[in-house]
Amino acid sequence: MTWFNVILILPFTLGLFILLAVLSVNYYQWFRALNPRNKLRLWKSLSRKEILSSITEIFRECLLHLRIYHQKRRLWYMHMSLAFGWFLLIVVGHVESVFNTGHILSSPWKSVFFDYFSRSQEVTGWHLQGFNHLMDLILLFILSGLFLAFYKRINSRSFGLKRRPLHNPHDRIAMLFLWFIFPMRFIAETLNHAFYGGGGFMTGFFGNLLTLPDNLNYLSDIAWIGYSISLGGFFVVLPWSRYMHILTEVPHILLKNAHVQAYQDKGCTEFSIHACSSCGICLDSCQMTNLDSCNGQSYYFIRKLRELSGVSENRMMNCLMCGRCSNDCPVQVDTLSIRMNERIRMNDDLAFDYSYLDQPGKKVPRARIAFFGGCMTQLVPGVKASMKKIFDFYEEDHVMIDETESICCGRPLFLSGQKKAYFEIMKYTRERILSCKPDLIITSCPICLTTFRNHYFFPVPVIHHTQYLESMISQGLLPPGQSDIKTVYHDPCELGRYLGIYSEPRRVLRNIVQLQNKAYKQNQGLCCGGSIADLEMDFEEKRSIAEDAIQQLIYPDTRLLATACPLCKITFATPNIIPVRDVAELYAEALTVTIPAREMAAKEAFLQN
């Protein structure tokens, strides 16, 4: 090997060595930081069947990016051509070198700089010529993606992105190196073929076009060194930039398929935040992107977590936690859990004292159904009154747990990061609800329902009031009145994305109003803006999000907006654009008869006989 060859391969080899060293240190530390239980989970998931499904997913998502394909086609082509193209370039390049040298294992630089090392050799045989064309085709494929990436910096709207993500300096440096790699390769190969002949349909053609005197052949060597430097430079900056996702997506997918969650797990959180590719799709899904003052979007939040400076409190708290970003994320980063980790780390040790809730003498009368309205239902008495009317109509043995003295489910405490206080209050609320020994717990608040399902572990079923109403309809006990008011239903975030309750409220509404059959997509619902998870936004900003959401939801001829969450009802009513009603209120109004259901059924049977 000549001294020039050493200079040529040095930047590339050094960069690769640094990359591998940093990666192995990082991955080892993150793996060690995993909870012991999660480590076990990961170990158990390594069965043949699950590994096979993980490998399929790695191929589909890391290389082909199929989740982006389903959202934005042009953006998909850009990402896929770079990822899959580069993968092909490496693999096909290696196969080409194996065919030529006959050695299956060779030094990495032998295949990367194959055209440089084999430039004085004669190309014999159709298959070797075929490799030249194939490599050119792949290079063209990558260059087309690179052109799109460049164009995206100028006009991101043509890619379906409302707002262009603003990258930080490390990402810009890494991007610059990445952008240089493939054009440098193109120039190096073209000059190579200009001086030494050969080449595929693209580099060979351009090489033949150039008529350069032979004494300028050092230009080709310089281009090859440029290629090596851009590769090595990219490898060195990769672990500190967003391009870390290229490699970290693989362990992220393995952890995801082993059902390891980022919540309260430092190791998994590190893998997740480095698997984020900063593609900017979540910026588009976030409803706060339209507000100028908001900077808490998951895109910026996760990027700040990767940096040494960490996340500011403002950024951490300024989020509605509606879940739209994690739903749209092509890498499926659990942004909600990661944000909760940070909030808990910050606020968990704040003082609290809920001893005043300890009232052992106080008992709720025994009943079959326990109805828990929650704090927000206290502010919309119409929902409570309607539920009472409905229970009376069906002659249910019920009790309103928090009719006079309300008590919080604790979710607002949890969302602000005060986990200890949350578990303290949960103790009292759970005790009070169970003191009536119910067979069924019904709540009209999706926020409470999420908490009950996630942490309360009640011994009896807990359902939302729309599910109860739907069960009444499916039993044939439906109210006779159906109005012709054109209504649009809004999916509350907690009820939809968190709990997956979509069909029940729609079925109820179809029986009592004219539900405008909007082509809705599950998990694409809009947040009302009033979410209790956000501690930063002021009143005006919340209202502007609500206005924006209403405009997107309704049609020109819509007369009513129905929802199933008291907080959404309050928030949507504030801009005063359209009347907002809860499903329970509409149902209670549809009960045109005043006598209970059973008496009515008996009378009908009597008349028919």
Binding site: M317, N347, D353, C408, S416, I532
Partner: protein
């Protein structure tokens, strides 16, 4: 002495021209707190006020007056439900203000009391 349901506290010396240090610290983070007109809507709707007697209006008053000892006690009762912020006619971000107050006490600990 018969129990009237309320007590008379010791004499206070309050200088309304000089705000308490804690109030200024909270004001810096939550400027909207300056809009409080002590209307009492928050206390009227408060979940814990019914049982513990401490509503957001009272917290602001104690904070302004610098009665840190009572404030610290009253702060601990808050359940964070956010009903106060929904009824506030001045649009004050009450939950953020209460979180900030709690943090002030955690940060400065007993020095403040």
């Amino acid at each position: 002495m018969p129990d009237f349901g309320f007590g008379i506290h010791d004499d206070l010396m309050i200088d309304h021209d000089r705000l308490s240090l804690a109030y200024e610290a909270v004001l810096e983070e939550v400027p909207s707190i300056s809009g409080c007109i002590s209307c009492g809507s928050c206390s009227g709707t408060c979940v814990s006020s019914f049982q513990s007697g401490a509503g957001f209006r009272k917290l602001v008053m104690l904070l302004k007056n610098g009665s840190y000892e009572q404030l610290q006690q009253a702060l601990d009762y808050c359940q964070f439900c956010g009903k106060c912020s929904l009824v506030c006619p001045r649009g004050i971000n009450t939950r953020r203000a209460i979180l900030e107050m709690r943090k002030q006490f955690k940060k400065q600990g007993d020095d403040m009391v």
